[in-house]
Amino acid sequence: MALFSPWRADFPALAVLEAQGQTYLDSAATAQKPQALIDALSGYYTCGAANVHRAQHQPAERATRAYEDSRIKVAKWLNAASPTEIVFTRGATEALNLLAYGLEHLIGAGDEIVISALEHHANLLPWQQLAKRRDARLQILPIDAAGRIDLAAATELIGPRTRLLAVSQLSNVLGGWQPLDDLLHLAKTQGALTIVDGAQGVVHGRHDMTTLGCDFYVLSSHKLYGPDGVGVLYGRGESLLQVRHWQFGGEMVRIADYQHAEFHAAPLGFEAGTPPISGVIGLGATLDYLAGLDVAAVERHEQALHDQLLAGLVARNGVRLLGSPQVALASFVVEGVHHSDLGHLLTEQGIAVRSGNHCAMPLMKHLGLDGATRVSLGLYNDSADLERFFSAIDQALELLR
């Protein structure tokens, strides 16, 4: 059955890419942008840029208001208790590094930081390095064959020495929702702080911070159809109080002397220097656009498209899926075919997919693979995109076999 995305026309790049013979199936790396965002960026720069939280003049007042409006929009999007729980960063990676430095004082020698085997490098390396700095132990929760964190093992591994649990909501390689409710409960029982990497998860469906119950949640604007250079750190009010300042500079300081300074609380205390003002305003416009869509219709479309993707992949001889992807993406290998060869020939045919280790080298090693091909979907994709992909993979495999 042919599936058409009613939102495709809202993203001008899709038509441009199509005219260039490119089929974009790499939205898990970065998503294309809606016209609403492009208009907001253009509007901000056209009507007068200004710095935020500094000057009294009218352009500054306008920029500051727009910037703070975005904070309110993000808070609403995540159903945070208050906009002060939203910190803007330069990306999800920076948000995770902020936590790894800001929470460092809570970690002592022999303490444990728990992550999972499927983490993206961004949710692995900051914790690995924190563990090294504090002589702490990094515990790795194993995953099952479907690509879900193994809860039985987690029950064993999350213990009294666990100070932090940092896990992905949705794997960028395996496409599986993680059992967050159970994991967060296990960590809380041990008095640990919990961090959820929502870089992939936030793009699919709506997630409610009040019911999710994590201490911190991290997302990336550019994967959520927003501008790049912007990330969000959600921190529950009382949990944010435990985070120490990490970057120092303009506007995060309350009182500064040559030998001494006092700093603002969150969120401004964690936004040193000029923030990505246009990007934050653009993210606000993107959320306005997304909030105007029929959530159920988007979810139905994405699910139907994902079903078609899986059906088409498994119907092909020698194709093996990694895990049991539930939404958004599918990674696969083809028996007897190197992922680099397949990637090369798909590129030649204008198919924009990702080939390689997907910023998750330890996971690839765990799966016994040196790489895989990943197809990922956005709400603007439709079944014609998949048809082009399937015909290209058939051509490529015919050549390679």
Binding site: H338, H339, G343, L345, G356
Partner: protein, 135 residues
Amino acid sequence: MSDLPQAAGEALEAFSQAPGWEQRARLLMQWGERLAPLDEDERSETNQVSGCESRVWLVGERQDGCWHFRAGSDARLIRGLLAVLLARVNGLEAADLAEVDMADWFARLGLSRQLSPSRSNGMNAVLQRMCELTG
């Protein structure tokens, strides 16, 4: 074309008659088959070129003032790219080798995209390693 090594001349002739991506891919795979296989101990960590999405090994030695390289990869199209690279440089003296414009060479074969900065296939890393070996 007279200044090209013989194998390079052959490559240029073959690839200039292959306008489409399919013909180019077939040719690359055929050229890849012609690479002299590396011994097991040559496929070592020391000889491995990092920065490639497939595993690539490069060894080079100088005989009578001329450089001879051998290379291998576990990916077929990369083997083809290595083959056309080696066709251009093998047998050259160090001074001539330093003069070779690699971007131009791949462009003449219709393969310039393989050297673009966003490509993670590692051909740029291979060229870098070649410079280190001959430097």
